[in-house]
């Protein structure tokens, strides 16, 4: 009796596990299936490289949205990576235990703040900052709603992710290596530069890739600060229209215009594929690092 119960439960758990993991496949297939009507009319190449977005005329060019996403993500990574790297170096290598204890909760709290709050903060703080203090030095006029604003808000959003992964990675560097370098008379920074960073390079790459994929998919915060104009941005003060924002902004009328729902699902599919690839790459690197440490 007990054995039967164990068997049944085991099968049940197997089913639940398989079902939840196959979500990955099902999501991909579902989105692809919905994109078929659009893909029958236009090829992948056309969809990705055309920059004409006129849903009413049946023209769906995703190029401006892809570029919008790339700009925002690029700016976010350029800001966030050095700051997060220095922060995690400080936390792992320099900070006294007391400071460490104080810092970790704040990183966790920051990661708990919901995206929409980052968006509100962007509107209240970053937008006026850019409009009044940064933009006037470079361009004649800017409302503040720009890819730069999106990039800054996103950068702050991905701080906790990068810092926590990098700290983990930096902790895996064997103390003996550092000791060897220090005992040869190298300063702490020289040790970091020549030993720690070199050893941690795969981990840094993995963290960056993961952060990129997180930034790629962030929706509501960038939607609120980017200005949402379907044109290709040419400077950081231009408005942009990232892919996720496109999906979120148009769900209302997607049923009334032919092919529009298909186009939005295609946008979701694009996001899904890119993020899936990036995630798998970085997870494989990180798992390898972990295994090397365990061995």
């Amino acid at each position: 009796m007990r054995l039967i119960k164990d068997k049944i439960l085991s099968k049940l758990m197997l089913v639940l596990t398989v079902a939840s993991v196959s979500l990955l496949l099902v999501i991909g297939i579902g989105l692809y299936y919905k994109s078929i009507p659009l893909l029958q009319k236009l090829s992948w190449g056309e969809l990705i490289t055309s920059s004409v977005w006129k849903p009413l005329k049946g023209l769906f060019g995703f190029y401006p949205f892809i570029m919008g996403t790339l700009w925002v993500t690029g700016i976010a990574i350029i800001i966030a990576l050095p700051l997060s790297l220095f922060t995690s170096l400080y936390i792992v290598e320099y900070a006294p235990a007391r400071v460490k204890k104080l810092l970790t909760p704040f990183v966790n709290l920051l990661s708990g703040i919901p995206p929409v709050i980052f968006g509100v903060w962007g509107v209240l703080f970053i937008i006026p900052l850019i409009q009044k203090f940064i933009a006037p030095h470079f361009v004649e006029f800017s409302t503040g709603y720009s890819v730069l604003a999106g990039g800054i808000v996103l950068a702050v959003m991905i701080f906790p992710l990068i810092v926590s992964i990098l700290s983990e990675v930096l902790r895996t560097i064997p103390q003996e290596l550092k000791d060897a370098s220090l005992s040869l008379g190298a300063t702490k920074w020289e040790t970091i530069k020549k030993i720690v960073l070199r050893k941690a390079l795969p981990g840094i790459v993995a963290a960056t890739v993961l952060a990129i994929s997180r930034a790629f998919g962030e929706t509501i915060a960038v939607l609120m600060v980017c200005g949402n104009n379907a044109v290709v941005p040419h400077s950081v003060f231009d408005t942009g229209y990232p892919l996720p924002a496109l999906i979120a902004n148009n769900y209302g009328d997607m049923m009334s215009i032919p092919l529009y729902d298909s186009a939005l699902m295609f946008a979701a599919l694009l996001l899904f594929i890119i993020i899936l690839l990036f995630n798998i790459i970085s997870r494989v690197i990180l798992t390898r690092l972990e295994n090397r440490l365990a061995a």
């Binding site: 085991s10 989105l31 320099y94 995206p115 209240l124 300063t187 702490k188 929706t219 979120a248």
Partner: protein, 281 residues
């Protein structure tokens, strides 16, 4: 010699500076929200649903959104737990000797964790269209459940892995079946389960993109699963888009409410984690 010392000093101060920026951004965000939201905060915001002229600046509050968010996040967390606890047990206790397979599964959940909520929202919408469900509380709960499953599985998996193998072996050697062993382990990780619940709840209550298509919006508190439900993040988003100052201000106040809820949840989760690791064998 001097140059090396200078270099050390330079980079060290750079690190401190970076740390200050990263740590300070938290205060900057919360500070901005409190500063802007507090003046519009009042009891009505918390205890009333939107009145007649709410969206042109007349009386009312966001109780509908607060309750709606609690329903969605609560429902999704409960549903998610029902799925995730068995999954976490299965990965850890029923897959002996298949390390490659269990690690691949873990990675799959990590990848699922990385899928953005807008994709879950779009997919949830597809499910709803397929089954003929309209934007409703039920739809929102389904989409958000998908979103929190990876959060729950990952957290529970980590917690279960902290349970010493000896405990499991002891249970097994006494003739317990794997399920009976799992029950022992579940008892052992109870605080960890609470942490997982809080983390999932926190993620669920703050997310917009997944409920945007699926939960709809309503000025009333939903009384059945098939009615549309307002959610707090969505209420913030809508109010902020208004041209009326008063409504925008209420958006800031709503943001303050959400921030406070989420901060309480995060702090609780951390306190629990700390307690848990203290009593770990």
């Amino acid at each position: 010699m001097k140059k090396r010392k200078l270099e050390e000093l330079f980079f060290r101060s750079l690190m401190v500076l970076a740390t200050l920026v990263v740590g300070g951004s938290f205060f900057l965000i919360v500070g901005t929200i409190v500063y802007k939201g507090a003046p519009y905060m009042n009891l009505d915001m918390l205890t009333k649903t939107p009145g007649g002229g709410f969206y042109i600046g007349k009386e009312g509050g966001v109780l509908n959104a607060i309750i709606g968010s609690l329903y969605v996040a609560g429902g999704a967390t409960i549903l998610g737990l029902l799925i995730s606890i068995p999954v976490a047990i299965f990965i850890n206790m029923y897959m002996d000797g298949k390390r490659f397979l269990s690690n691949t599964l873990r990675m799959a959940y990590d990848v699922l964790f990385g899928i953005p909520s807008i994709v879950y929202g779009a997919f949830g919408f597809l499910i709803m269209v397929y089954f003929g469900i309209r934007a409703s509380l039920l739809g929102g709960i389904i989409a958000v459940t998908l979103l929190v499953i990876p959060v729950l599985v990952r957290t529970l998996d980590e917690v279960i892995r902290t349970v010493p193998l000896e405990l499991r072996d002891a249970a097994l050697s006494l003739g317990a079946t794997r399920w009976e062993m799992a029950k022992v382990v579940l008892r052992q990780i109870r605080p960890g389960i609470y942490t997982a619940i809080l983390l999932s709840f926190g993620r669920a209550i703050g997310d917009v993109a997944s409920v945007l298509f699926t939960a709809g919006f309503s000025d009333n508190i939903p009384t059945s699963l098939h009615q549309p439900a307002a959610t707090l993040p969505l209420a913030i988003f809508f109010q902020l888009g208004s041209a009326v100052d008063e409504v925008q201000g209420r958006g800031y106040a709503s943001a303050l409410i959400l921030t406070i809820i989420v901060l309480i949840i995060t702090v609780l989760a951390q306190v629990l984690t700390k307690k848990f690791s203290k009593y770990k064998i």
